[in-house]
């Protein structure tokens, strides 16, 4: 996932390699569920890919298997949620937010049940498995649905905190996790994780990187590279909550920095970048602005790392975009 140059920057920053957010999720959920029998995991033949094998073994009465049937998964989750259960409905993001979108919209969001919809192996995590297994639409479709919070954690700390919050939250949430091991963001635990709030990881006024999910680390590496190489001071903001957006942090960054780059493991249509662009325009802010994501084309084939590199979501790609934008 990281080039030798990116690894060198990470080493210089003293970043520690954590585990996949998916594993952090599963472990955190198991810990919480041991203390609360109302916490349930509902799976669609997805306990293995959701790293919920240990959960199923430790708490067999708190896991509900529905088979390969995502619509049923979400409907059953809504029914359980309506009866006071704290439900985590877990399935690959590609299927969960497409095939069962109507169940998410109506059964959970419209009916307002306390269900956390957990999209696993999101974005292009499944890389070489192809477009059927990619979820590059989930932010866009869920942003257009009322009464759901959309969260894409950037590292293990954000993932852990998000799961804890969801376990005591009484509203619908979409949580999105990848399956590749992640660096832990520097001093991550010093910046509080609050739903709806962006987390500033470093300050600067040349380029603001407004990054989401597992692209945040690449933005951070790019910022460090730009600083060491060109003396540019970049602001890196993790935007784990795509909806509702932390508008204040977004507007401040755009007002205080010379350029704004948004990054997301999502199609450029309808995701974080377009959400931010809308707020900038409506607040009269014209700035140098670039949305970095997967373009609206037949997605290049290859691993997640290949796809990130191809579309400029890697450190090198973001460095180049920043330089272009400031030119």
């Amino acid at each position: 996932m990281y080039s030798p140059a990116a690894k060198a920057v990470a080493e210089k920053l003293g970043l520690k390699m954590g585990r996949a957010n998916l594993e952090e999720f599963a472990d955190t959920l198991l810990g919480l569920a041991k203390g609360d029998r109302n916490i349930l995991a509902v799976t669609s033949d997805s306990r293995g890919s959701g790293k919920l094998g240990p959960f199923g073994q430790a708490l067999p009465k708190q896991i509900v298997e529905v088979g390969i049937a995502e619509q049923n998964l979400v409907g059953i989750a809504a029914g359980l949620g309506s009866c006071g259960k704290k439900v985590f409905a877990v399935s690959p993001a590609c299927f969960l937010t497409a095939r069962s979108l109507e169940q998410i919209k109506n059964d959970i969001c419209y009916s307002d049940h306390p269900v956390t919809v957990v999209g696993i192996s999101a974005g292009v995590s499944y890389g070489a498995l192809g477009t059927t297994h990619h979820s590059l639409h989930d932010f866009a479709v869920l942003r257009a649905i009322n009464n759901i919070t959309i969260v894409a954690p950037a590292d293990n700390f954000e993932a852990r905190e998000a799961v804890r919050i969801c376990a005591r939250h009484d509203k619908p949430v979409y949580l999105r996790f990848g399956k590749a091991p992640l660096y832990t963001l520097p001093r991550s635990e010093d910046v509080p994780f609050v739903l709806g709030k962006a987390r500033q990881l470093c300050d600067g006024s040349d380029v603001a990187f407004l990054a989401s999910g597992e692209t945040v680390i690449h933005a951070l590496l790019a910022a460090e590279h730009l600083s060491a190489d060109s003396g540019l001071q970049c602001r890196v903001i993790s935007v784990p909550t795509i909806k509702p957006l932390d508008i204040e942090a977004v507007l401040d960054a755009a007002r205080e920095c010379r350029a704004v780059i948004t990054t997301e493991e999502h199609m450029v249509n309808g995701g974080l970048g377009e959400a931010i662009a809308g707020h900038l325009v409506q607040n009269g802010i014209a700035t140098r602005f670039q949305i970095v994501g997967i373009p609206d084309e037949y997605t290049v084939t290859g691993s997640q790392a290949d796809i990130f590199r191809h579309y400029g979501l890697s450190m090198e790609g973001l460095v180049a975009r920043a330089r272009d934008l400031l030119r």
């Binding site: 619509q71 309506s82 059964d107 009916s111």
Partner: protein
């Protein structure tokens, strides 16, 4: 427990109200509301352990109307059961009204927002599972239309209901044989219906969906221990108004003034007849 005769009288009043409010709102699903009135009548007056007082009780029975478009029948029955004053329906379909054309939880007594078809059964499966998990003892009921059975999610739910041996779950199919395009068997045939559900592992009973005693017998307890129950209620779309019965255009037809007067005259004659002969 109300007698069959009392229920019959209630159904006549319910049908009168369904037509009244659809006429008032200028829109509604007339035929399907009239076909399921007797089913709702039996559920709310004989079967479901739920009332306005117990609606917040976690152990109340749950009713989820999967065929959400027949909401007018549900509204009228809930009003009669005291969940809200029937006069609230004056706002039906209106600006800022909670009484929209499909059930929502903004209305007292409604468990689940429905309207998109094929959703009720999976939700009811989750509800029945929760009851089993907590040993809470409540039952979950859902009402499906026969046209709705073409939605694949129903069959996902059918698998799960049997897999989890949810004998506290009852699905009722309002089998009125008509959908918006025509006869259900011509649009997408689902027969043999009883055989399909039995093969899925459900206990199945077919009843006359306008026969209070038969409906009661099929619904008062699970049909078989260890299996979910499927009650095929053979009904007539537009039931109770001669010129609406089994006529497709009344799926969401709104009676004009003349039709409305004729319909009320028929129902009022039925009410007079039932009320008159006191024995």
């Amino acid at each position: 427990m109300p007698t069959d005769r009392e229920l019959a009288l209630k159904s006549l009043h319910y049908r009168r109200s369904v037509l009244k409010w659809i006429k008032h709102a200028g829109a509604g699903h007339t035929g399907g509301s009239l076909s399921c009135v007797d089913i709702l009548n039996v559920l709310y007056n004989r079967i479901l352990r739920v009332s306005p007082v117990t609606f917040s009780d976690p152990k109340r029975d749950r009713y989820i109307q999967s065929k959400g478009h027949s909401v007018e029948a549900l509204f009228v029955v809930l009003a009669d059961r005291g969940f809200f004053p029937e006069s609230d329906l004056e706002t039906l379909g209106g600006y800022k009204s909670d009484y929209v054309g499909h059930p929502t939880r903004h209305v007292a007594g409604i468990e689940q927002n429905t309207g998109a078809l094929g959703h009720g059964l999976p939700i009811a499966v989750g509800t029945a599972l929760a009851s089993k998990m907590d040993d809470a003892g409540f039952r979950a009921f859902t009402l499906l239309g026969d046209g709705e059975l073409a939605e694949g999610s129903n069959w996902e739910g059918a698998l799960a209901g049997a897999h989890y041996k949810l004998d506290n779950l009852t699905v009722i199919i309002d089998c009125n044989t008509l959908q918006i395009t025509g006869r259900t068997r011509d649009v997408m045939n689902h027969e043999p219906l009883a055989g399909k559900w039995a093969a899925f592992g459900w206990a199945v009973r077919t009843v006359d969906g306008h026969d209070f005693a038969a409906l009661t017998a099929a619904l008062e307890k699970p049909l078989e221990a260890g299996k979910p129950s499927l009650v095929i209620a053979r009904t007539t779309k537009g039931k109770g108004v001669s010129f609406m019965e089994d006529v497709g255009k009344w799926h969401h037809g709104v009676p004009n003034d003349d039709e409305y007067a004729r319909a009320l005259a028929e129902l009022d004659a039925g009410i007079a007849k039932l009320s008159g002969g006191a024995t």
